[in-house]
């Protein structure tokens, strides 16, 4: 923490504005409004976050959260189809939306003076969407093209989709956010309307405004716009507890490609109590020790020294509504197999558990965390993203300093402890991409996956 405090001090002495402040208010209809003031440039970002993602979907209508995201641009009683985008564009704005497992969010970035327009338009489509079958019929075609582009024709995305379906037996994280193609083909306008009715209410959303604004003025605007929308009771949410995995799982995905690819995904927890949990922080630091810089363990050993991989990585995300995974992945060098790469990755984990983590490695990861905290303040959009994400998964923007503290307090013993507890075969699903020649003829080599004993 000392380093960070020092930074703030330097900034202050140089005559910079004091650290950006965050303000929060919940309207009577349940909409939570969070404002982050940042006066560096006369711009603002509005993001509205709905706690409705693919996690909330049912078998048969997967992808509907994302389809609705598309339909939100198709007009309301007062703002005809296409007008939303035209008005934001005419105000000099940029806009888009995104859907994940956990949430759906919409954003506009504009000159500060245009915030009232953006809030008027965004609040209008929260409760006045006109979702016609005719517009749906066209837009579902666009979504299918999006699926072909992002998943069907992308071998590694296809692998990831099938990997998730294998990792989770019951949890809805088994379904792709874009939806299975047959669900998209069967989907009707009514499915999207039902989804909108069910989730698009102020008491299921967080409004985040960041930029060159005064919080008091934003709260007043929010009352005038979103404040008029009545709350509606939300249907109770199902929570899922994925049945315990009882042995290693393996799958092979064949797709047109040149290089094989390996992903090892271990079940891992997510952050629930920012002040008390320690394992998610230790897992974040573990990912940093393995893959936090070009000379971290995996790249140094597997790419540079052993030359068993042409690329390699480790990843873990502690912030989600559902469970998480700790992932190791890589591409073997020519002449090496995925089995050899898997063995090399396992050897790195075994070594870490047996020999521990050095103080130097730990300090390096923490220094990067502290520096990133400063760098992230360069982007108003990112600051809003961080707030919206935390609020949408059941944490709070107030947890941001708590998260930093949690990461700084991780010990070498804790890093080893989480590696030992979570990186074990009963938690593991291994997926390999078996590259197929473009001609569609059978592969010349044996399947790249292999079911070797370990």
């Amino acid at each position: 923490m000392n380093l960070r405090l020092l930074m703030a001090c330097v900034a202050f002495m140089a005559g910079a504005p004091v650290a950006a402040e965050v303000f929060e208010q919940t309207l009577p209809n349940g909409l939570k409004v969070v404002v982050k003031e940042d006066h560096r440039a006369p711009v603002v970002v509005q993001q509205i976050w709905y706690r409705a993602g693919s996690l909330d979907e049912k078998t048969g209508t997967t992808g509907v959260a994302h389809v609705l995201e598309h339909m939100m641009f198709k007009g309301t009683k007062a703002v005809p189809v296409g007008e939303f985008s035209r008005r934001i564009a005419a105000a000099g704005g940029r806009e888009n939306a995104f859907t994940s497992n956990d949430y759906t969010a919409y954003f506009q970035q504009l000159h500060t003076s245009k915030l009232p327009l953006a809030m008027k338009l965004e609040s209008d489509r929260m409760h006045n969407l006109k979702l016609t079958d005719a517009e749906f019929a066209k837009e579902i075609q666009v979504v299918m093209e999006e699926r072909r582009m992002r998943t069907d024709d992308q071998p590694r995305a296809l692998l990831e989709e099938k990997l998730n379906a294998a990792i989770y037996l019951e949890h809805p994280y088994q379904h792709p956010v874009i939806g299975w193609m047959s669900d998209l083909e069967a989907m009707q306008g009514a499915d999207a309307r039902d989804w909108y009715q069910r989730w698009y209410v102020p008491n299921n959303a967080t409004l985040v405004i960041a930029g060159d604004v005064k919080a008091s003025e934003v709260f007043a605007l929010a009352k005038q716009t979103y404040g008029k929308i009545p709350a509606r009771a939300l249907a109770p949410r199902r929570t899922y507890s994925e049945p315990a995995q009882v042995g290693i799982k393996r799958l092979v995905v064949k797709a047109p490609a040149e290089l094989p690819y390996l992903v090892m995904a271990y079940h891992a927890p997510t952050l629930r109590d920012a002040a008390r949990d320690w394992q998610p922080y230790a897992l974040e630091v573990l990912a940093g020790v393995l893959d936090g810089n070009e000379s971290a363990r995996l790249n140094k050993s597997l790419v540079r020294e052993q030359a068993v991989a042409s690329s390699v990585g480790a990843g873990y995300d502690s912030i989600a509504r559902g469970p998480s995974t700790f992932v190791l992945e890589g591409t073997p060098t020519e002449g090496k197999t995925v089995a050899e790469l898997e063995a090399a990755l396992r050897a790195q984990i075994d070594k870490l558990i047996a020999e521990g983590v050095s103080a130097e490695e730990l300090q390096r990861v923490k220094a990067q965390v502290l520096a990133n905290e400063v760098y992230q303040r360069d982007s108003v959009f990112y600051q809003a993203m961080q707030i919206g994400q935390l609020e949408s998964v059941g944490l709070s923007h107030r947890d941001i300093p708590v998260l930093l503290k949690g990461l700084q307090e991780v010990t070498a013993e804790q890093v080893v402890a989480v590696a030992r507890e979570f990186l074990k075969d009963d938690n593991l699903t291994v997926a390999t991409l078996d590259p197929q020649p473009l001609s569609g003829k059978p592969a010349h080599a044996a399947p790249a996956g292999g079911f070797h004993a370990h």
Binding site: V43, V142, E146
Partner: protein, 438 residues
């Protein structure tokens, strides 16, 4: 309606011009390097970029990939530091080393905390990386193998095949046709001597542009710029890129690939950074296919017909004329329909230009959204590098809104007609049944 829109527009201009954008300071370092600096103490950090005229356009077809390999190896070992020491010491102070590479330009970037200890250490490493790389033989071989593997993989991706065929069709024998990272057949043959020769010839102080953005003073910035370039050779042989000839005729290439979608690219040589029609083409393209959800292409292809998720057009302004390109992806069965539609939209636009109303909407967005272009240190740093590298006027950013405002429909029409001929466009289709026997 017109009047009302014009009033709103005037309002926008007032709103944006009340804010002073970044104040650019510029000078020549004693080393000969050109320096552009914006002093800003809002955040305790510093961004630096050092750019050289050392992109893939300085390769030859026989040695394709040499420029990228040289650039990629800079941080893999220097006189005093091994590649491991570079990575570890930067991570120890939380600094981030990065780079940029395109046909014209090879850049090395650094983001660091501005506190003296962190900044000093990070900059001393950057100074080594830029000025004293040693290109160890074992590292060269390892990186060559990785690049070749990546290229072999890329050769199986429809978007890569489409880009490659498009560049060949638009640029022919001009070096802009060369692949950025080289070819499977060329990269493995590049020697250490060739890498060293390329580095010595193209990483020169006189051609270097040092961009600095953030929490340092002018005096500190002057010292940093000198520190990063003083050990480079001052000057060397002059390399200039040939002009890009216009296409003599239309071409069409269809390449089979098992992908469900066809990747469709249409284009021709477009404009250079110094083109007098720069703003007319830029604003016009917003109307045609650059304006997010509100362009003509988006309206016709996606909104009205649901034919594609992504459809766009752009001009890539380069030292010489970069590509004008329209791109989309759609399932194979409707590729022909989408292709014909896009050709019609383009031909109509070239013949008639934008309407007054479309032009006004374009100006409203570009001028009104101007502050979004310079709202972070990162974005300002990128502008500094571009302004310095392409010798754009130092008031480029200040003048940008008024240059956009002055564009007329007649200028757009004339500029498009001068640069693009619908009867002489290159077309490439990959996948979705393209190029397969019916």
């Amino acid at each position: 309606m017109r009047t009302k829109l014009l009033v709103m527009f005037a309002g926008l201009v007032v709103a944006t011009s009340a804010w002073a954008g970044p104040q650019i300071q510029s000078w020549q370092a004693p080393s000969g390097a050109r320096v552009l600096f914006v002093e800003n103490h809002d955040l305790p950090m510093l961004d630096v970029a050092v750019s050289f005229a050392a992109g893939s356009a300085y390769d030859t077809a026989e040695k394709s990939g040499l420029a990228a390999l040289t650039h990629g190896l800079l941080d893999h070992g220097s006189v005093d530091l091994s590649e491991d020491e570079v990575a570890k010491q930067l991570a120890d102070v939380g600094a981030q080393l990065g780079g940029g590479f395109d046909p014209d330009r090879a850049a090395i970037t650094l983001r660091t905390l501005s506190h003296a200890r962190e900044r000093g250490l990070a900059l001393s490493i950057l100074a080594q990386v830029v000025q004293q790389p040693v290109f160890p033989q074992a590292v060269i071989e390892r990186e060559q193998a990785r690049i070749v593997a990546g290229l072999k993989e890329a050769e199986t991706h429809p978007e890569h095949l489409a880009d490659k065929a498009f560049r060949a069709a638009v640029f022919g024998t001009h070096p802009y046709a060369l692949s950025g990272s080289g070819e499977v057949a060329t990269v493995g043959k590049l020697s250490r001597a060739e890498i060293e020769a390329f580095y010595s010839a193209h990483y020169l102080a006189s051609g270097a542009v040092v961009a600095l953005m953030g929490d340092v003073t002018r005096a500190e910035a002057e010292a940093i710029a000198q520190q990063l370039t003083e050990r480079l050779p001052r000057s060397g042989a002059n390399f200039s890129l040939p002009r890009v000839p216009a296409l003599a005729a239309a071409s069409e290439r269809r390449i089979p690939h098992p992908a469900k979608q066809s990747h469709v690219l249409i284009g021709a040589p477009g404009m250079s950074r110094s083109d007098p029609d720069y703003f007319a083409l830029y604003v016009g393209n917003y109307v045609l296919g650059g304006g997010g959800f509100v362009s003509r292409l988006m309206e016709e292809v996606r909104e009205k017909r649901g034919l594609a998720y992504d459809v766009h057009s752009y001009f890539m302004p380069m030292q010489q004329a970069g590509a004008f390109q329209i791109g989309l992806q759609t399932k194979g069965e409707q590729a022909e329909q989408a292709l014909q539609l896009v050709r019609k939209v383009l031909a109509d636009f070239i013949a008639q230009g934008p309407t007054e109303r479309e032009l006004l909407a374009a100006k409203q967005n570009i001028v009104g959204g101007f502050p979004l272009r310079v709202d972070s240190n990162r974005k300002i740093l990128d502008y500094l590098s571009v302004i310095g590298f392409y010798h754009l006027p130092l008031d480029y950013l200040d003048a940008f809104p008024s240059k956009v405002e002055r564009v007329t429909t007649a200028q757009v029409r004339a500029a498009f007609a001068r640069h693009l001929d619908p009867a002489r466009m290159a077309t490439v289709l990959v996948g979705g049944g393209a190029g397969e026997p019916k």
